[in-house]
């Protein structure tokens, strides 16, 4: 069930929030209810996904319990490998087989397993807890709160990728504590903003980008077309993901829980390092803390730094999808980060506008790899951007306007969360909310809403 679907807004969410507050005085009951609601939410996609989510969570918790009771460390390593293996099995086995085919020239049978939705996100959260146990920085949790940490439905499908210690302590807070209505009110506003970003911006940009990338599977598009496709997709993926993150944070607030921020106006970044501090923040910090720094980071010499950066960003790409386009996208960013660091160390500082232009162009170009279904299509798009398909015609208004509007909003808007925190209750705000919410619900009822891009990861 999508956040921006009628069944979620009109049935599931009111029901889930209503019962949660009816049980608010009883911590155990309200937490079990949130787990149950989260499993219903998850099972709604495909009931077959449930055993894996429950199994991975329960097994991880049991292994941690064993390690604690016996004072062993090795079960934690086993649990990390097991979780990675599950992710590898469902997400990468066919990709691995295709690589083997290319290397050996032999044909291997494909598993063709269905990718359980959200597996990349919750597996990373399980692994972060296991690593923190090994580091001695994670406490022991009961199965109820641990299960809720993983399954909590607002973040289950596409993040934010949370740490146990930033959400589990919040479960104990009294939902009825001071500020109840402010939290719910701001949560509703944030949710609605996310809805608008998804339906009225991201999905409209998809209408521009999709046919261009589809055409590029066959031919080299003209420069103007390739440019429109690349720009429209770079904006689409931003608004699509920021919309999901805003809706997730908004729902969290409705339950009295503060989820971490995932975006901080990334298209205002003036360097690639700056970009990664603003884009998918919870993934960036996960990669930093659990891959980049353990590999040596930037303090162990140039060689280690280059190695750690490329491995981290290569894995970042692979995390997004099992395909060479994603790997190259990640490695491209890795190389970009190295060049950025080199420039910052040896070069003279660029004027901010030039730094912004270079950074944004680089990011937009690399998103072509991210969107293209295969390297051939990406090649066609890059060839089009190089002018191989001719200059093409000027953009029609139907392309120009959405790209201009979305681009402007992406550049000028403050982080949505901050904006939602600034809003004050007033009648105009309430009336505006109701009108916009009704329009959104009626619009989304016209047909099957488009899924979020990050749900495929």
């Amino acid at each position: 069930m999508l956040f921006h679907s009628q069944e979620f807004i009109l049935l599931f969410l009111p029901f889930a929030v209503g019962i949660y507050y009816a049980l608010a005085r009883h911590q155990s009951a309200r937490e079990w209810w949130l787990i149950a609601a989260s499993l219903i939410f998850y099972g709604w996609w495909d009931i077959r996904f449930l055993p894996l989510l429950i199994g991975q969570t329960l097994t991880t918790w049991l292994i941690v319990e064993l390690a604690i009771r016996r004072d062993w460390r090795w079960p934690l390593y086993v649990a990390i490998v097991a979780n990675l293996s599950v992710l590898g099995l469902f997400k990468y086995i066919d990709f691995g087989a295709s690589i083997l085919e290319q290397v050996t020239g032999r044909e291997f049978a494909k598993a063709s397993l269905i990718l359980p939705i959200g597996i990349s996100f919750y597996t990373f959260e399980l692994i972060s807890y296991l690593v923190d146990r090994l580091r001695g920085t994670a406490p022991r949790y009961g199965i109820r709160v641990f299960g809720l940490f993983i399954a909590l439905f607002p973040h289950l499908i596409a993040g934010p990728i949370m740490r146990h210690n930033e959400i589990i302590p919040q479960f104990a807070y009294d939902p009825l504590r001071t500020g109840l209505y402010e939290r719910i009110g701001r949560g509703l506003v944030l949710f609605l903003i996310g809805f608008v970003e998804k339906f009225f911006i991201a999905d409209q940009l998809a209408i521009i980008a999709d046919p261009i990338f589809a055409e590029a599977t066959q031919t080299v598009p003209a420069f103007s077309l390739a440019g429109a496709g690349a720009l429209a997709f770079a904006l689409q993926i931003f608004f699509d993901f920021v919309a999901y993150s805003d809706m997730a944070m908004g729902i969290g607030l409705m339950f009295g829980l503060m989820l971490p921020m995932n975006f901080n106006v990334p298209y205002r970044a003036v360097s690639l390092r700056d970009f990664w501090r603003r884009w998918h923040i919870t993934l960036s910090r996960w990669l930093r803390d659990y891959i980049y720094i353990p590999l040596g980071g930037s303090r162990e010499g140039v060689g280690v730094y280059v190695w750690a950066t490329l491995v981290t960003m290569g894995l970042c790409g692979l995390w997004h999808g099992a395909g060479w386009t994603f790997v190259l996208w990640g490695l491209g960013h890795g190389l970009g980060l190295l060049v950025c660091r080199l420039w910052q160390h040896y070069g003279s500082p660029l004027p901010a506008i030039a730094a912004w232009a270079i950074t944004t162009t680089f990011v937009v170009l690399l998103f072509v790899l991210f969107r293209a279904p295969d390297l051939g299509t990406a090649g066609h798009m890059f060839a089009g951007l190089a002018g191989e398909g001719g200059l093409g015609t000027l953009w029609p208004l139907a392309t120009l306007l959405p790209v201009l509007i979305a681009g402007t909003i992406a550049l000028i808007k403050v982080p949505t969360f901050e904006w939602a925190m600034r809003i004050q209750p007033s009648w105009p705000a309430a009336i505006g909310f109701v009108v916009l919410a009704v329009i959104c619900v009626l619009e989304v009822g016209e047909g099957a809403p488009l899924s979020f891009i990050y749900f495929q990861f």
């Binding site: 209505y181 109701v434 009626l442 009822g445």
Partner: protein, 356 residues
């Protein structure tokens, strides 16, 4: 406003109130005629998306006879057809109607209307397309939920701006502020005859394919029996099913298309089309239903002055086609002037019925 508490209750109650009011309005107005009738005993069509409105016309029980087809069948006037076949006709041909959509519509008619009389199937290339099995619906959307027998599952698809708009139109009708449009599905969608411009039309007819696109291909493509047997027509089982289940008179009419829209004689496409017609002929024969073919080179299809574009003939031709259907059924023979071929059906002139 006094604080967050009021704000939250205002937006929750305001939102819930508006949604409930809109839901009640939609259910009361029954914009698609698919819900149990509360306020209106009859339904009249008031939308341009035929896929959403035709089920309501069927469920109104006002018509015992229908035309199905694509836009090339839409100009067959229900009153003229009533003169030929009797009964009460609605023309439910859809713009760009694909075979699957027509099949679903006919199936609904068969299930919903007990005293049905005539089904006129306006055939064209969509029934012979190789990809008819995959390409089932158009970008216009097709509301499957409206074509089943359970109105309860319709509710989850009806809370949207389109339903509100059509409900508003119905409300306008109830107040007498608005006249019903297309009460029997028939609409003259072509421009006014006075606006006919032969030069412009000629450009439309011939520009795409070049001046010789209707010329025969020499040598003609010769497909042997084995090759013909391999050709697939995924939509034809649907046609067979319709004819099998329809208790009443089924008439298959291959409607005219301008010669520039027909496969060039002797081409592989033409051979495929002929094979398709032969298989439709077999279906017609099994159900003792007539099959009349206007999709041939004739004075109707070769004369540019008869057409608006390659698929849409002018109003006088629509009248002529209905008259020709009547003559074809009466004689049970090909047209001596060559306007139609009487491919299947009773040769005595009596139109037979099929049985379930």
């Amino acid at each position: 406003m006094r604080g967050w508490r009021h704000f939250v209750w205002a937006i929750v109650c305001g939102f819930a109130g508006v949604i409930v009011l809109l839901s009640v309005f939609i259910v009361s107005m029954n914009p698609y005629g698919n819900l149990p009738r509360i306020l209106f005993s009859e339904h009249v069509i008031d939308d341009t998306n035929q896929r959403f409105q035709y089920p309501a016309l069927i469920r109104s029980q006002r018509y015992d006879s229908i035309v199905i087809g694509a836009s090339d069948s839409r100009l067959l006037h229900p009153r003229a057809l009533e003169r030929v076949f009797g009964g009460r006709f609605a023309n439910l041909a859809m713009n760009a109607g694909l075979a699957y959509e027509q099949y679903r519509l006919a199936s609904l008619f068969i299930r919903e209307v007990k005293d049905r009389r005539t089904l006129l199937v306006g055939l064209d290339h969509v029934w012979c397309d190789e990809d008819a099995g995959e390409k089932r619906i158009t970008f216009r959307g097709f509301p499957e939920w409206m074509y089943d027998d359970d109105w309860r599952n319709d509710l989850r698809y009806m809370l949207n701006a389109k339903s509100v708009e059509i409900s508003g139109r119905r409300f306008g009708q109830a107040l007498g502020l608005r006249k019903a449009r297309f009460p029997d599905g028939y609409e003259v969608f072509t421009p006014a005859e006075s606006a006919y411009d032969p030069v412009k039309v000629r450009g439309k007819l011939w520009d795409k394919g070049g001046p010789n696109s209707a010329d025969p291909v020499v040598p003609a493509y010769a497909a042997n029996a084995e090759e013909r047997a391999r050709w697939q027509y995924p939509a034809l089982p649907w046609l067979d099913e319709i004819a099998t289940r329809f208790v009443g008179r089924v008439v298959f009419v291959y409607v005219p298309a301008h010669i520039a829209a027909q496969p060039p004689p002797g081409s592989k496409k033409a051979a495929r089309r002929e094979e398709c017609k032969a298989r439709i002929g077999a279906i017609a024969r099994r159900h003792a239903a007539p099959l009349i073919d206007f999709d041939i080179h004739s004075e109707i299809t070769a004369n540019d002055a008869n057409w608006w574009d390659r698929l849409h003939f002018r109003l006088p031709i629509a009248e002529r086609v209905v008259d020709d259907i009547e003559r074809a059924l009466a004689t049970g023979k090909d047209d001596p002037k060559g306007d139609w071929r009487y491919l299947e059906g009773p040769r005595t002139g009596a139109v037979s019925s099929t049985a379930e």
